[in-house]
Structure formats: structure tokens, C-alpha cells
């Protein structure tokens, strides 16, 4: 007997992870945790891409996921540099305290 999982379960898991990412993005105060929530959302979308790639039997979704990973890496490098710079200037990681562009 060879039973498998319906494809919709993967999509529902992707939706759950994405909703968790949105919740973390909205509720957290620590700027690093907010940033990690964004990564969680990107991962959830990657799972959707791979699942649809399976359904269509094409490799295109994998390529998209690959590019999302590359963009996430670039985004993490620049975003963490911005966080370092903010911390150097404000000495805080709370997003509520960072409410002006300059000074």
C-alpha cells in the first residue's frame, strides 16, 4: 500500500507558516525578531513554490525558490548591517524607539 499526502496539505502548512510570519512581524518589538519573521514568510512561500512545481511536474518553481534564497541572503546581509548601524546610533533594538529618520 502506497499512500501519499494530498498536495493541499503542503499548501495549508505553507499558509500556516506564512500567517505565523505575519503575526511575528506585527507583534514583535525586537527588530531582529521582526527580521526573522520575514525570513519565515519567505520560507513559507518557498514551500508553495516547490509544491506547485511538483504538481505541474516542472522545474521552474525550483528556480524561483533558488532566486528567493539568493535575494534572502542579500537581504539578510544588508538588513543586518542596517540593524548594526541603527544600534550604533540609537543604542536600542526596539522598533518603537526608532521612529525618526535622522537624529
Amino acid at each position: 500500500m502506497m499512500t501519499g499526502v494530498p498536495l493541499s496539505w503542503y499548501l495549508i502548512l505553507s499558509a500556516v507558516l506564512f500567517a505565523l510570519g505575519v503575526a511575528g512581524f506585527l507583534f514583535r518589538k525586537n527588530i531582529i525578531t521582526v527580521f526573522m519573521s520575514i525570513e519565515l514568510m519567505l520560507n513559507a512561500v518557498n514551500l508553495s513554490f516547490i509544491a506547485f512545481s511538483y504538481q505541474l511536474q516542472q522545474v521552474n518553481g525550483h528556480i524561483f525558490t533558488f532566486f528567493v534564497m539568493v535575494v534572502a541572503a542579500a537581504e539578510a546581509a544588508v538588513g543586518l548591517a542596517i540593524i548594526l548601524s541603527v544600534f550604533k546610533n540609537r543604542a536600542t533594538l526596539n522598533v518603537d524607539d526608532v521612529n525618526s529618520m535622522k537624529y
Binding site: T3, G4, P6, L7, L11, S37, N43, F67, A73, A81
Partner: protein, 167 residues
């Protein structure tokens, strides 16, 4: 076997995802996020995406999360303080989230053809060879543009994080 593997790693992913959101200390969130990424890599393997699963472990769980942990250590980030919680958000947040997820699940169940059953090994073109062929023929231009993007990201990170020089 497929069902058991999916359920185990889906539950690990969701529990770690909840942990990312509810933990007050950033380092705990980061380690939970590594758990999410690791279990997602197993799910990618189940869907036949070998190359992406390996890239997920190496790039995401390896490189990006090490960068996060490094910055958390560098900034000595402690637990965040809670203050000024909105009563509306506290009362409505969780029910609305569950309602949203129920709607999303309903529509996914309704509109995705339920005939597609995921069998391990049914999708064979997720190998590094196939990804490479697609990447270097059809998607050559985006691939090259990506290198420029990474170059810009490196320069931006260096410019943003360097020490201010006295003039």
C-alpha cells in the same frame, strides 16, 4: 511512510514557527527558525526537490542563520520588554488568526485538485543537473543579474556597517 514523515516534520515546523513568534529572547527565536528550516528541507526532499533541500540546509540554516546568531551575539540582545499592549490586539488577534487560517485552508481544499497525491520519488527532475540546465539556458539572464544583486548587497553591507572615519 510519506504521511508519517510529512506529519512529523509539519508539526515540528509549526511548533518551531510558533516558538519563533512567542519567544521573548531573540536567540531562542533564531534557534527555532533553524528548526523550521531544517524540517522544511525534509519536506522539500519529500516533494522531490533534492537540490533545493540541500541549498536550504546550506544557505538558509547554515549561512543566513549564522549571520543572525552572529548579530544577536554582537549586539548582546536581551529579552525584549513588553509595554503598552493593545487590549484589542490581545483579545482579537488569536481568534482572527485562526479564522484567517480556517478560511485559507477551506479555499485551498476547495480549489486545489485533491487528486494530486504526493509520492516520494514521483518527481525526478529536481536534481542538480536539471536545475543547472534550466539555470544556464532559460534563466541565464536572471542568474547573471543575481550576481550583480549580490555584489550590490556586499557593497551596501560594507558601507552600512563600517566604522565612521574621522575626516
Amino acid at each position: 511512510m510519506d504521511v508519517i514523515l510529512f506529519l512529523v516534520f509539519a508539526i515540528i515546523a509549526v511548533v518551531c514557527g510558533i516558538n519563533v513568534v512567542v519567544q521573548r529572547h531573540p536567540i531562542t527565536s533564531a534557534l527555532s527558525l533553524i528548526g523550521v528550516m531544517g524540517s522544511l528541507a525534509v519536506l522539500y526532499l519529500l516533494l522531490g526537490a533534492e537540490f533545493i533541500a540541500m541549498a536550504q540546509v546550506i544557505v538558509y540554516a547554515g549561512a543566513i542563520m549564522v549571520l543572525f546568531v552572529f548579530v544577536i551575539m554582537l549586539l548582546n540582545a536581551g529579552a525584549e520588554e513588553t509595554r503598552g499592549k493593545s487590549l484589542v490586539a490581545q483579545l482579537l488577534g488569536l481568534p482572527l488568526l485562526i479564522l484567517f487560517l480556517a478560511f485559507a485552508s477551506y479555499f485551498v481544499q476547495r480549489f486545489v485538485p485533491s487528486s494530486t497525491i504526493v509520492h516520494f520519488g514521483a518527481f525526478k527532475s529536481g536534481t542538480a543537473q536539471n536545475i543547472g540546465i534550466a539555470l544556464f539556458t532559460r534563466y541565464l539572464l536572471p542568474f547573471e543579474v543575481t550576481s550583480v544583486l549580490i555584489l550590490i548587497a556586499i557593497l551596501g553591507a560594507i558601507v552600512l556597517a563600517r566604522k565612521e572615519l574621522d575626516r
